[in-house]
C-alpha cells in the first residue's frame, strides 16, 4: 500500500533521513521503533509531504506521490495523527471532528464516519459540545484519532499516540489500534516509544536509528534478537 524507497530529507542544511526503505502492506499494523531523534517523525512528515523530500520515492497504492502536497495526499486517504495532538482547543469536540472531514471527498461520508467515531469513543458523543481544550489528555487523544478517522483514511499514520498518557489510557489506545485494524480493516503505520506495547500490536516492525533502518522483521524476530533490543529499544 505504501512503499518508501531511499528517502532522504531534512531541515535546512541538516539531513535527517538517510535513505530508509519501508513498506506497509494493506490491512496490517506496521510499527516503526527507535530512540528519540531517530527520524521517525520526520519520516512520517516527509511521507505526508509537509517536509520536502530531497531524494528517493514514495509510492501510495502503486502511484508515485513523492512530491504531492499534503492536502492532495489527504484526498488519497493518507492521514496522520500527529505527535502532541494538535487539536483545535477553542473549537468544540464536534467542530474538531468536522474539521477532520474537511476535504470534499470526506464530506460526503461525514455522517457515517461521525457515527463510527462516536461508536468507537462513546464519551466523545457525550462531550460533543464541549471545547476540546477542556477534555482530559486521554479524551483529547481520542478526538485526535477521531478527527483522523473523519478524513476516511486508507492509511493512518500515528505518531506517538500514547505519549504523555496514563498507563490505563495507553492500554486503551492500543486496544483502539487493534480494533481499527480488526473491525474496519484499516492499515496503520505506528510510531511509538513504547516498544513492548507496539511490538505486541504490530504485524511487522522496522527499527530506525539516525535516519536509517537498522533492522526489520516480524515482532517475534525482533523480540528474539537481544542485540537489537539492547542497542536500539532499551528493553
Amino acid at each position: 500500500m505504501l512503499k518508501v524507497e531511499n528517502l532522504q530529507s531534512g531541515y535546512g542544511p541538516m539531513q535527517v533521513l538517510w535513505g530508509p526503505d519501508i513498506q506497509v502492506k494493506p490491512g496490517t499494523v506496521t510499527s516503526l521503533l527507535g530512540p528519540n531523534g531517530a527520524g521517525k517523525s520526520t519520516l512520517l512528515w516527509t511521507i505526508l509531504g509537509a517536509v520536502r523530500p530531497w531524494e528517493g520515492k514514495i509510492f501510495f497504492e502503486g502511484e508515485d506521490v513523492t512530491f504531492e502536497p499534503t492536502h492532495k495526499k489527504a484526498d488519497r486517504g493518507l492521514v496522520m495523527v500527529p505527535e502532541g495532538k494538535h487539536l483545535f482547543k477553542e473549537m468544540t469536540v464536534y467542530e474538531n471532528l468536522l474539521m477532520g472531514a474537511y476535504r470534499k471527498g470526506a464530506q460526503e461520508e461525514r455522517e457515517a464516519n461521525l457515527e463510527l467515531v462516536y461508536s468507537l469513543f462513546p464519551i466523545l458523543s457525550e462531550r460533543r459540545t464541549q471545547r476540546a481544550g477542556f477534555l482530559s489528555g486521554g479524551q483529547q487523544q481520542m478526538v485526535t484519532i477521531g478527527r483522523a478517522l473523519m478524513a476516511r483514511p486508507r492509511l493512518l499514520m500515528m505518531d506517538e499516540p500514547s505519549q504523555g498518557l496514563a498507563p490505563k489510557i495507553v492500554m486503551e489506545i492500543f486496544e483502539t489500534v487493534e480494533k481499527l485494524k480488526e473491525e474496519i480493516g484499516l492499515t496503520i503505520l505506528l510510531v511509538e516509544q513504547n516498544a513492548s506495547a507496539s511490538l505486541e500490536a504490530a504485524d511487522y516492525v522496522y527499527v530506525m536509528h539516525e535516519g536509517v533502518i537498522m533492522a526489520e522483521g516480524t515482532p517475534e524476530e525482533i523480540e528474539a534478537s537481544h542485540e537489537i533490543k539492547e542497542a536500539y529499544l532499551g528493553i
Binding site: G12, W45, A74, V79, P82, M91, M99, Y102, A151
Partner: protein, 361 residues
C-alpha cells in the same frame, strides 16, 4: 450641560469605536494566522481613504458603495504583497521545525531599512521624478534581496524581518500615493443630512459608517463560524499543524488571510473617511497604526472580534475622556485624550494582561 456633553461624546465614541474596531480586525486577522504584526497597517487605511476620495470626487460614487471596491483593491494588494514580500519570511515548512537562514534575512532587512531611509531623504531633496525612478530601482533591489536571502522558506520567519518588511511596504505605498497625489491634505463633502438626538447631532454619514462596520464584522463572524472556508482559516489560527493534517492547504490559507486582512483594512479606510472626511493625505495612516495596536492589544491581539470589541472600548474611552478632560480648568483636552487612552491601556493591561476578551491559559 456636562452630562449632555458627556452622553453626546459617548454616543459619538460608540459609533467611532465601531469603525476603529473594524479598522483593527485586519491587523488581528493577519497576526492571528501568520504571527506577523503588520507595521504598515496605517498605509493600507490611507489607501482606502484615497479610494473613497477618488471614487467620490471623480466618479461621484457614494463612499458606502466604495466599500466593495476597496475590499477588492485591498485583497489584490494583499495577494501581491504576500507573494512578493511576506511569503518567503513566513511560509510554513511542515512539521513546525524552524529552518536556518536567520542571519541572511537579518542582513537583507538591514540593507532594506538603510535604503528606505535614503529614499525618504531623497524624495524630500530631489526632484519628484528622480525620486520616483530611484524608488523603482529600490523596489527591484528589494525584490532581489528577498529572493536571494529569503529564498529558503522557514517556519514563522524571524519576527524582526517581518516587521521591517511590513513597515517598508507601508512606506512604499505612502511614497507611491505621494508621487501620484502629492502630500497635500484633501477632503470631500458627502452630505446626507443630520440626526438630531437633542443632546448631540449625528450626521447620517457617521451612522452609515458605523452600520457598515458592524455589518462587515457580523459577516466576518458568520463566515468564520458557519462556513467551511472560514472554519479552515480558524483552524490555521488555532493550530497550523492540526490544520495541515486535516488536509487544509495551509500555504493558501496564509495567502488568503493576509489578503483578507489587507482587504478589511483598506475597507476600513473608506469607513473612516465617512467619519472624518478631511485630512486625507499619504501620511495619514501613522496615527491609526498606533491606535490599531492599542485596540488589538485591548482585544487580545489574535482575535478579530476581540479587535472589534476593543475598538468600541477605545472609541468610548477616547471620546468620553474628552468631556472629562475639557471640564478640567486650563487643560488642553484634545491632546490629553490620547494620553488618557494610553493610560487606560496600561491600566487594563495591568489588570488583564491577555486583553479584555481573552480567556486565561
Amino acid at each position: 450641560m456636562f452630562f449632555e456633553q458627556l452622553s453626546g461624546n459617548l454616543v459619538q465614541g460608540l459609533i467611532l469605536g465601531s469603525v476603529y474596531g473594524m479598522a483593527t480586525m485586519g491587523l488581528s486577522l493577519i497576526f492571528g494566522v501568520l504571527q506577523v504584526v503588520n507595521v504598515g497597517h496605517g498605509a493600507f487605511i490611507m489607501v482606502g481613504a484615497f479610494t473613497a476620495l477618488i471614487l467620490f470626487q471623480s466618479l461621484g460614487v457614494p463612499p458606502i458603495l466604495a466599500i466593495p471596491v476597496a475590499l477588492l483593491i485591498g485583497m489584490c494588494l494583499g495577494m501581491i504583497f504576500y507573494y512578493g514580500a511576506v511569503k518567503p519570511l513566513v511560509s510554513p515548512s511542515g512539521a513546525g521545525i524552524r529552518k536556518v537562514g536567520r542571519r541572511q534575512l537579518g542582513k537583507a532587512a538591514g540593507v532594506f531599512v538603510a535604503v528606505m531611509i535614503a529614499m525618504r531623504i531623497l524624495s524630500g531633496v530631489l526632484d519628484l521624478n528622480i525620486a520616483f525612478s530611484i524608488f523603482i530601482a529600490i523596489i527591484l533591489m528589494y525584490a532581489f534581496l528577498v529572493y536571494v536571502y529569503g529564498g529558503r522558506r522557514q517556519e514563522k520567519g524571524p519576527e524582526l524581518a517581518t516587521l521591517l518588511v511590513t513597515f517598508s511596504l507601508g512606506v512604499i505605498l505612502e511614497e507611491v500615493v505621494k508621487q501620484i497625489f502629492t502630500s497635500e491634505a484633501r477632503g470631500y463633502n458627502w452630505d446626507l443630512g443630520k440626526l438630531d438626538l437633542g443632546f448631540t447631532v449625528l450626521p447620517f454619514t457617521k451612522i452609515l459608517a458605523s452600520g457598515g462596520s458592524l455589518t462587515v464584522a457580523v459577516l466576518l463572524y458568520l463566515w468564520f463560524n458557519k462556513t467551511r472556508a472560514g472554519m479552515a482559516m480558524r483552524s490555521v489560527v488555532e493550530d497550523s499543524v492540526g490544520a495541515r493534517v486535516c488536509g487544509v492547504n495551509v500555504d493558501w490559507q496564509y495567502a488568503l488571510s493576509f489578503s483578507l486582512g489587507i482587504g478589511l483594512t483598506v475597507t476600513s479606510g473608506v469607513l473612516l473617511t465617512m467619519f472624518i472626511p478631511v485630512g486625507i493625505n499619504p501620511y495619514m495612516g501613522g496615527g491609526y497604526t498606533l491606535k490599531a495596536f492599542v485596540i488589538a492589544v485591548l482585544g487580545g491581539l489574535a482575535s478579530p472580534y476581540g479587535a472589534f470589541f476593543g475598538g468600541v472600548v477605545f472609541g468610548l474611552l477616547e471620546n468620553g475622556s474628552y468631556t472629562l478632560l475639557a471640564a478640567l480648568p486650563g487643560g488642553e483636552p484634545f491632546a490629553l485624550t490620547r494620553f488618557f487612552s494610553f493610560v487606560m491601556l496600561l491600566v487594563i493591561l495591568l489588570i488583564r494582561p491577555t486583553g479584555l476578551l481573552r480567556r486565561k491559559g
